[in-house]
């Protein structure tokens, strides 16, 4: 399989604390990778570095063999989408509007010049794509809802739909099932799998809930104090001595 994302020797420190330490990570096109690690291991920071919201001190990141631009919005337009550990929705916009923002921005089809030409209204293809995505995520009924009224599970799904609407090549999703009950987590894992099947998007999922990781990820990478300590199938990584010690909290086995 072709390599989609290539992270080489990325380092990041906050003050004196090294949060991400020479991390190498490869993700193939269409692959699903689970990223696990204890609280504060640097998972979200790594996500932010890949997405471009914070800059690494060192190292480089390639998408499809090309170096990524610096800014987050440029990276998004190159095909990197993400969801956040703490849900980030746009206040004052309906669910459909959330998707429209992402879709039009991604295609470079939003902006002052389009509006001033009088073409500000949503086109039929745009509308179709948004509704398709909502359908795919199972929230088509919520299209015109205001997001403040939604439950946490629904809000996470909206965030996911927003990330997927422009058909990204890589989806970074940060703890999608935190705060959700078991059945909701399962539903979300199910959505992720079906999205992956139908769009072929590669997924990197940060997750503490092992059931969700097992349900989604084909390969698991374990992070501890900013370092990659294990990389392999779910069972291999869970059985790994270092992982058991650092994360599952076992005394040396």
């Amino acid at each position: 399989m072709t390599v989609l994302l290539e992270v080489r020797g990325v380092r990041k420190r906050f003050g004196s604390q090294v949060v991400v330490d020479s991390v190498d990570l490869e993700v193939s096109a269409g692959e699903a990778v689970g990223l696990i690690g204890s609280n504060g291991a640097g998972k979200s920071t790594l996500f932010s570095i890949i997405a471009g919201t914070i800059s690494a001190d060192d190292g480089s990141i390639f998408l499809e063999g090309r170096k990524l631009p610096n800014r987050a919005d440029e990276r998004a337009r190159r095909g990197i989408a993400r969801t956040f550990q703490i849900v980030q929705l746009f206040g004052g916009l309906s669910v459909l509007d959330h998707l429209l923002v992402a879709l039009q921005a991604h295609n470079g089809e939003a902006g002052v010049f389009r509006d001033l030409r009088g073409n500000g209204a949503t086109t039929v293809p745009e509308m179709t794509l948004c509704m398709e995505t909502l359908e795919l995520c199972g929230i088509a009924k919520l299209a015109h809802a205001q997001t403040t009224m939604l439950s946490l599970g629904q809000r996470r799904t909206v965030e996911l739909a927003r990330a997927l609407v422009a058909r990204p090549k890589l989806l970074l999703t940060d703890e999608p099932s935190s705060g959700l009950d078991e059945s909701e987590s399962l539903r979300l894992a199910h959505i992720l799998n079906s999205v992956r099947r139908s769009t072929g998007v590669a997924v990197v999922i940060v997750e503490h809930d092992l059931a969700t990781v097992a349900a989604v990820a084909e390969r698991v990478v374990a992070l501890d104090a900013g370092r990659v300590i294990a990389n392999g199938t779910f069972d291999e990584v869970i059985a790994n001595v270092d992982v058991r010690r650092s994360w599952l909290g076992e005394a040396s086995a």
Binding site: I54, A76, D97, A105, A166
Partner: protein, 650 residues
Amino acid sequence: MNEFLSFAIGGLPFACSYALVAVGIVLTFRATGVFNFGFGAMAYGAGVTYVELCSHGVPSWLSLLIVTVVLAPVFGALLDWGLFRRIRTADLTSKVVTSLGLMVFLPSMVQIVIGSTTVYSAPAPFLSTYFTTLFGISISGPVIATLVTTIVVLMVMTLGLRSRRVGLTLRASVQSPRLVELHGVDSGKVLRNAWMVSSSLAALAGCLYAPQFATQNPSAYNVLLTGAVAAAALGAISSFTLAVAGGVLLGVLQGVIPGYLSPNSVWYGALVPSIPFFMLLIMLLTHRGFRSLDRSKDPMSVVEPPTAPPGLARRSEILGFSGRIVNWLAVVGLVIVAIIFVPEVWVGTLTIAASMAIIFLSVTLLTGLAGQLSLAQMVFAGMGAYGTARLSTHHHWSLGMSLIAGTMIASLGGLVASLPALRLRGLPLALLTLCFALLADNLIFPATFVGSGSSSIGVRRPDIFGVDFSGPFSRNYLVMVVAFLAMTTFGVRLLIHGTTGRMLTAAHSSEIAAASSGVPMRRTITIIFMLSAAVAGLGGGLYAIALGSLSTPDFNSALGPVLLVVVITMGAASVRGALIAGVAFVALPQALALAPSRFGGGGQSSAITIVVLSVGAFTYAQHPEGIVTFIQGRLKVAGLRVRNLRGDSR
């Protein structure tokens, strides 16, 4: 050396005033999270009161005591109780808007209260006849008194704040008033004390500042505010020591620089007012903490941003075909009315109102749509006005060409202003644009290649395509301005309801999520800044042509905050706010001038207008949608009720 010292000593009274206000700014910002733009206005009020008391025979030292120890703390407590206590948990923008409201509201209020008579200079509070010579340099008593008073006051205050308890409680009260109260400290009292003390400081600054001027006018106190802002900025609005140092530095420079320049030099009038701007600019560019004043203080907020606040704007879909037809019909109707039915005497007024409305629309674009707080919109209008006037009158360009050129000059100004806006938002941007406006006032508009110093330049009102636009009450010209207004209104509406509005609403609520979704914020902000400046420039150009002559006060930098506050008061989220503001801003003084002086007619009309139009800024934190939308909402609710009642009775 001696020469230098004597110049420096001349700057000391200014230094003291800057330092005092700067310390007040830092104190309230640290204690309450409010950056008070109103301190300059409060100093003005104090200065005027002091002068008035003195002129009524109260000894000057007693007047000083009354103003600073009695009146000012009471006023500070009132501010806290009536205004700032209510917005303690509001976001920074609400706090900025509220304090800008104070900045705009107070000077006009003071003018109304004292009547239209000019307030003249007062004696220095102490030692007004004393004179001494120190190391061969003569120093006057008032300078010594000012210096000693300032040093004593600042020392007492610093000692008070040094006590760990007070300092900690202050800071904790901002972060979480509830938590402080759980520990048995009355956080309300802490905040009130901060307001009382800082209000006193501003008043003292005002009283020491007043004798420096032959007459008291608000713009001198605007300079005081700008200087204090720059001084406070030197310590990133958190260090008292650096704030004082900044004030002293500015004051001394202000004394020294003109001393060494020939009064005929281009730099003579321009260098001093530009110091605050450059000081602030350097601080903003170099000091990380200062740049991100607005971001959440939580260090984790970059990696894991907090949940976005629920937005207030409810976007409606873009107009359908029938809606557009109705709109066009309305415009055509307006133009016809303008051509035929407007009475002769109102033609001039309406022309000016329409061009003001265009200027107001530039605020709707920048603040309502893009969420950027700019206090320099009047500068862009001025660029358009002077550009148009110069090119048409002195270089004999045609009216159309010079309007276009003026608009383009303004939009280039907007491009320059957008550069810092790529990094700054909210408060830091507001501060920078405030200082920029002062710079433009003193550096750009009086320059001989732009205006002509303080005297006015004429503006031609030529004809195009054989249609005559000349004459002060030209109906043709009114039609032209109304047509421009309609075009601008449509453009702004298209943006608000189109993809841009949606994108910017998203970015306003969560900039990180918007960027991660691919929203190109930098480009969008730059374009909106340029457009907004262009709109302001167009309005300014039309305004200049309507006036027939231009002088610097027409585009005074003090008007920038007025524009912002008035549009926000009326509602910045839709075009209606700006349109109503434009008409009200021009029509209200006219109407008031007709009213008997007992009801505010005559000389006070423009002050009353500003008071009336700015008072809504104080309710911004509760009703950010603005008065127009608020009333509309209320009417809708009332309408529903009536309908329900009818339904019930049936």
